[in-house]
Symmetry: C2
Subunit: 462 residues, 2 copies
């Protein structure tokens, strides 16, 4: 726990923002924790700006006092991004939730950072368009941009890296920039947009975003297929990707995850390694892709090819997939989940999962495995008792071995959750010392006083 | 013309690189010009490194003497990227032309920066894969990455921004980094890859690239459609994009461009505003898309829907499209082309072209119009006599108005050619002073001595 803000700053903020400047312990606590297994670290105060200009004002005030600022969206981080490890102010952007301009004719939309992905998709109803990026949680688009989020649709529609056309960003010195024009492509200068996507609030505060939208597919088909082994399921995925079948989603869940889902979501899925598919296109193309997938799955003894053709069945299916995190948590009373997030080249996916399963068996830990395997990305939810230090240590060691295994296989320690606190230790192995020094150079150039979400992404330097 | 290198540096380089260090005037001249209308500015010497380690060695030597370094690929720039405006050494990467690792199972390939796109596609023969990015010229992949190139396929497959998985980059201090792992997606840290894509050699020297490949489509169809007016053609494009038809290419050529092509490539196309289409997919999907396009084109009185189904007809068609630049140059003896490269949101495309045509008519200049209109990107080739100062001035003024018009329409002054020398003056209007200051901050942080391709991208500061 860090102390109160400098009293002059508190006075300035209270005077300027009134009730939107809040130091109540309960509010601070709620802003100092996320969905990770980290113990909360509350900020000293919470501010609720309503405009980019207000964010800029706050940045200037806090900077004058060298007080850290932590942007806060929906609080759904899994890596401790929000924790006030050096105290400071949580900047809750939830009131910046306006859709500023919807342009169906350009397939784009400009939103404030506090708009959530579900809110956006609700606003798109009737336009024939949708925003595909779907990390499961109803995160804010600002948070998703800041962590380079992706999720189930990324295999077809890309990640936040591809989805963001431009961003409005408040820099550490209080200046506000727009990173790019609204052109679909551009060769004009440095890629300022991508500089901030994935920077986790450490280089600037994203306050607005222009996002690429996609036409709703004419036809959608979802299917669930059970396999005799994880290997068989993974081989089916690998062949699907290598053949270029443009699946919209292709998700792997192991038998334990399916068991958890059945219990939590009252489904009756066969408790075996399972793929959830979704196909988007015209009725004919969806039918073609269906046939291609069926052939591939058959060759690996995929069974129970169950189709969810009605929208309500599909929604139920994907809701169950999205609730898997909570379903898995429920497998063990009072457990917390230590979540891993590796992503490897698809050719290494089978080996990475195989070695990880062996490691898991030897560890005696309980950990459902599931993931966006079309991208080579999968998660373990290591269910640990918060009171069992020895178990936590074993779980951390396993997570560490998994991250290192992925890096050895030319992959990454985080496919979509971001670095936050939890993955900092692996970046040296993943990038090497010189690339990490370059990241540090960028941080110092953009935030010399280290007031923007300090302690995140970059490992502590000796 | 700048003077010779410092004699100590010359000695060091000559001793270390022998005949691969060259100061012959003819060689320097060839490395000091590109395909733009700028008069040549030769470097003081040319070096032919063969490995990343050699590039790093050269950077360290040149840095010690504060001598500029200009990476050189195939010399196909249209914006003066290669001109040695402050003298120094041209780093010709053409000997770094090895394909280091081809991994069909991961749909990726690692190449040295001097590999050209045609060389890569030749090496991919038999794998069922191809590299789609196609700026027309047979540029090197390093040069394409450095300028964030795109071209005819970008509407479907994206630009170099999306194509590059990771890069090996030599920094200004001689250190070498790899920007990312080989994972298809990652949320690990700052996007170092995108930091260098489009940085035009001003932040680091790209020596290797890992690139995303795509499965060759099962079926391809190309078509040529003539329209009664540019408006009719453009409206067809806009509706195609808004309906989400996944065209692989959709190119506009005005009547003058078609005339030039007929003369140069001995084709017999109707000399009217024309769209070149290409569709990729399964035979059924291509047929569906064909039908959709035909309906859209019919509604705008598109005529002469001519299909090129045989591979040799398609090659001839696209070769003609690619040769359009030279075909247009040939319209006027001894002319040079001042090339514009705006890109606007698709909803503004018709207005932007309309206003530009009016401007062009009033100017009395000769300028074929053509472009990658599916992305909102089009070019004018302003044909000017190199000896007619007044005409050149009028052409520059028109190009300037066009760039400003695009920026006013929320577009960019360069969709794919890059900034180089020619577009620097528009960046302030496009990005604003604060974003430009941030670009300057990045440049200073990464290249404090300004030895990496100095004078490019960033406007000269007062």
């Amino acid at each position: 726990m860090h102390g109160a803000l400098p009293s002059l700053l508190s006075e300035q903020l209270a005077q300027r923002f009134g009730a939107r400047f809040c130091v109540a312990a309960s509010v601070c606590l709620a802003h100092g924790r996320d969905e990770s297994s980290y113990p909360p670290q509350p900020p000293s105060a919470v501010l609720y700006p309503e405009t980019t200009a207000e964010v800029a004002e706050i940045v200037r005030l806090c900077r004058a006092h060298r007080v850290p600022l932590i942007p806060y969206g929906a609080g759904t981080s899994l890596e401790g991004h929000l924790l006030a490890v050096r105290g400071g102010v949580s900047l809750d952007l939830s009131r910046m939730n306006r859709i500023l301009a919807l342009r169906p004719e350009d397939l784009d939309v400009t939103v404030e950072a506090g708009v959530t992905r579900k809110q956006l998709n609700a606003a798109l109803r009737g336009t024939g368009l949708f925003f595909p990026i779907d990390p499961g949680a109803d995160a804010t688009l600002g948070g998703m941009a800041a962590t380079r989020a992706s999720g189930t649709h990324a295999v077809r529609y890309g990640t936040m890296r591809e989805a963001v056309i431009n961003a409005t960003v408040v820099l550490a010195d209080g200046r506000t920039i727009k990173t790019a024009s609204r052109a679909k492509k551009s060769a004009a200068g440095y890629d300022l947009t991508r500089l901030f996507i994935g920077s986790e609030g450490t280089l600037g505060i994203i306050t607005e975003l222009t996002l690429r939208l996609h036409p709703l597919p004419e036809a959608i088909a979802s299917a669930v297929v059970a396999f005799p082994s994880i290997e068989a399921a993974v081989e089916t995925v690998i062949e699907t990707i290598q053949m270029g079948v443009p699946v919209a989603r292709i998700e792997l869940l192991d038998a334990l995850s399916i068991h958890a889902i059945n219990r939590y979501s009252k489904t009756q899925l066969r408790e075996a390694p399972t793929l959830f598919f979704e196909l988007h296109g015209s009725p004919t193309t969806v039918q073609e892709q269906t046939q291609a997938l069926r052939t591939l799955a058959d060759a690996h003894e995929g069974a129970d090819f169950a189709w969810a053709d009605r929208p309500e069945d599909r929604s139920r299916l994907w809701q169950a997939r999205h609730d898997a995190y909570f379903a898995c948590l429920n497998l063990r009373p009072n457990a917390r989940a230590l979540t891993t997030d590796v992503c490897v080249p698809i050719s290494r996916l089978a080996a990475c999962i195989r070695e990880t399963q062996r490691d898991l068996e030897e560890s005696g830990l309980m950990a459902p495995l599931l993931g966006h395997v079309g991208d080579g990305n999968f998660h373990l939810l290591l269910l640990v008792s918060p009171d069992d230090e020895a178990e936590l240590t074993r779980a951390r060691a396993l997570a560490s071995r998994l991250a290192q295994r992925a890096v050895r296989m030319e992959g990454t320690c985080t496919g979509e959750h971001g670095v936050g606190l939890g993955k900092r230790q692996y970046l040296y192995e993943e990038f090497g010392a010189d690339a990490m020094a370059l990241m540090r150079t960028l941080k110092i150039a953009l935030d010399p006083d280290e007031i923007l979400n300090p302690g995140k992404i970059l490992p502590d330097f000796p």
